[in-house]
Amino acid sequence: GQQVMQIPQYQHVQEGEDFTTYCNSSTTLSNIQWYKQRPGGHPVFLIQLVKSGEVKKQKRLTFQFGEAKKNSSLHITATQTTDVGTYFCAGWNYYGQNFVFGPGTRLSVLP
């Protein structure tokens, strides 16, 4: 079945450092979505990428969808303590039959 992996599992950074999490799918995706879950909270939708090679930015966050639509990345520039949380990628397989979340990357930001 479709599998979605994320690396790293955990990341500790000093405030002001950059952070990147990578998402890899075993199958081609029709789209990729990114969610953020604050400690003790529920996942909150951040963005959706649909096109091959698509890049989207939200302030300090840059999202990229791979050319083959099997991988994606989230890059945060100059992290802040408010960026703390777990970042999940999730995607529908090409035929829209399965929607799978990655295991997430937990980000800690030290002040």
Partner: protein, 114 residues
């Protein structure tokens, strides 16, 4: 605007007891509805999803069941809870037209089975 409600927020149940978690959505029609379980510090496991009243798809075999008696109501149930059923249960909805729509999550129910 759309809102999603889940209750209760926390629940402590003995092994072997029944379970009923309810989720309701307001402000939208014919949503896709989802039940997820999240073990402590882990990712999200899709348990059930529904594209319409009475239409339930199960992703994993387990002692849980789901029902959708009304368009915007999704219920997760169990006849006899197991210790392994402990976790954070999240209900979510998405637009029913295109599967690629983003999902909006409820606040979740933290279930502890003792």
């Amino acid at each position: 605007s759309q809102t999603i409600h889940q209750w209760p927020a926390t629940l402590v149940q003995p092994v072997g007891s029944p379970l009923s978690l309810e989720c309701t959505v307001e402000g939208t029609s014919n949503p896709n509805l989802y039940w997820y379980r999240q073990a402590a510090g882990r990712g999200l496991q899709l348990l059930f999803y529904s594209v319409g009243i009475g239409q339930i798809s199960s992703e994993v075999p387990q002692n849980l069941s789901a029902s959708r008696p009304q368009d915007r109501q999704f219920i997760l149930s169990s006849k006899k809870l197991l210790l392994s059923d402990s976790g954070f249960y999240l209900c979510a909805w998405s637009g029913g037209v295109y599967e690629g729509n983003e999902q909006f999550f409820g606040p979740g129910t933290r279930l502890t089975v003792l």
